[in-house]
């Protein structure tokens, strides 16, 4: 198994990244502040006004190292795309499955089932931990709604019905979400998901977590040789990485949501870590974003037992392993796609 290489996050506004032989140099106001050999890096994520030299970009494209541009507040702008590589036969198999409605529905069903199961596990766990609190009932109820969704997904006759089931389960999940927040609930109250812009602190945290996770899912698809735009559950739309979003569904609750909850409940992210922006959006301050990114990176290195492989793997590789399992199914090496189930 390949080691998970590090991601370099640059959020200092006005920094300049350049290539120096085999190393990456970070300069701020013409002063060299950091230098690292490229072989330590799998990807580079930059926020807002950060310059990247053309030669560094060329080199990253050549090596297949990801470069991702986010806005200063973490919204996705662009990603570097090198030459098309990977296995054309695998992509062909992927397109063939897309043209088979029965098979497409089967994959989408498993992905939805995985997503709801993981949401249920997260809710159940929070209910257990919050024993005796008034939230326990609503958390258990929402968990039951997920279970119900899984049962109904099995019978879904087409994609639209399946998407409807997923949508109503997601609403039940988010309706109970604030029950999992145990600290500073006056500020971290949460009623519904809002994005572009996120309108409250919890939404701001979720948006940032999802932005980072979706980038990783795109990278996972690409590193396996799958076309990240050709998805099964998500409808195809120009510019939308539908397959990456498909893969992400089952990872949202265990990877992103739990991290957000942990940061709030351990008081690592506090009520005054947010700023209002014009347009009604709420965003993290620069220092809070740093805390968030450090926690996110740490989490990626923690190990978890993968139920299908039955071996220990770091959280950061789950997306890659799921992409690989999907590729094996598409090529006909596995009888079905097995979603990642979090315990």
């Amino acid at each position: 198994m390949k080691p998970i290489l590090n991601t370099l996050y640059i959020q200092t506004q006005g920094s300049y990244l350049r290539l120096d032989h085999e190393t990456l140099k970070v300069e701020v106001e013409r002063e060299m502040v950091f230098q690292i050999p490229l072989h330590h890096l799998r990807s580079i994520v930059v926020f807002g006004n950060v310059l990247v030299s053309p030669f560094l970009l060329h080199r990253c494209a050549e090596d297949g190292r990801d470069v991702v541009w986010l806005s200063e507040y973490g919204r996705f702008h662009a990603r570097l795309n090198g030459p098309t590589t990977g296995n054309v036969l695998l992509r062909q198999a992927q397109y063939a499955v897309l043209n088979d409605p029965g098979q497409t529905l089967e994959i989408a069903r498993l992905m939805v089932a995985g997503k709801l199961q993981n949401a249920r596990t997260v809710l159940k766990r929070a209910a257990r931990e919050g024993k005796g609190s008034p939230d326990q009932g609503s958390l258990n109820e929402a968990a039951e709604a997920q279970a119900d969704g899984i049962r109904r997904a099995e019978q879904a006759s087409d994609l639209d019905v399946l998407r409807g089931i997923e949508g109503s389960a997601a609403r039940a999940y988010f309706a109970a979400f604030s029950g999992m927040i145990r600290l500073n609930r006056d500020v971290f109250g949460f009623t519904e998901r809002s994005r572009r812009p996120p309108r409250d602190p919890v939404n701001a945290l979720l948006s940032l977590a999802y932005a980072l996770l979706s980038n990783e899912c795109v990278a996972a698809c690409e590193s396996v040789g799958l076309d990240p735009q050709v998805g099964f559950l998500h409808a195809l739309r120009p510019g939308r990485p539908a397959l990456a979003l498909d893969l992400m569904e089952e990872l949202r609750a265990p990877l992103a949501d739990r991290l957000v909850l942990t940061l709030i409940n351990r008081n690592q992210i506090k009520p005054d870590d947010f700023v209002d922006r014009p347009g009604g959006g709420i965003y993290l301050t620069e220092t809070a974003r740093k805390t968030f990114l450090a926690a996110y990176q740490k989490r990626k290195q923690e190990e978890i037992t993968h139920p299908v492989l039955n071996s220990k793997i770091p959280y950061g590789l789950i997306a890659h392993i799921q992409a690989r399992l999907l590729a094996r199914y598409l090529r006909g090496d596995l009888p079905c796609y097995q979603p990642f189930l979090f315990r």
Binding site: N6, T7, L8, Y9, I10, Q11, T12, S15, D20, H21, E22, T23, V26, V33, F34, Q35, I36, P37, H39, H40, K290, L293, A294, Y296, Q297, K298, Q301
Partner: protein, 96 residues
């Protein structure tokens, strides 16, 4: 694996100064400077071979000296460090 690279380059001549700069540059490509002529590099076997090949090509065996030590893992347990420490763990979260 962690490799400790130390060197003495004879800098009495301009050619020697050039070699010194080149040695430092190659070391930076693979790791980081922890003291003036001491580098720590975290590399795999292939990268290690490359590092050694590059360095031995630059150095003048009659005038210079190069030593490569392999640090027993884990580094934190086998290394005592006092005073100024410029080491950055490249595997920790990197946020600037």
């Amino acid at each position: 694996m962690d490799i400790l690279v130390t060197y003495d380059v004879n800098t009495e001549t301009p050619a020697g100064k050039k070699r010194l700069r080149k040695v430092a540059m190659v070391c930076k490509d693979f790791g980081q400077r922890v003291q003036y002529s001491v580098f720590e590099c975290r590399v795999d076997q292939a990268q290690y071979e490359k590092l050694r090949a590059k360095l031995t090509k630059i150095m003048d065996p009659k005038l210079d000296s190069l030593r490569l030590y392999r640090l027993p893992a884990p580094r934190e347990k086998n290394l005592e460090c006092y005073g100024v420490d410029r080491y950055v763990d490249f595997e920790e979260p990197l946020i600037l």
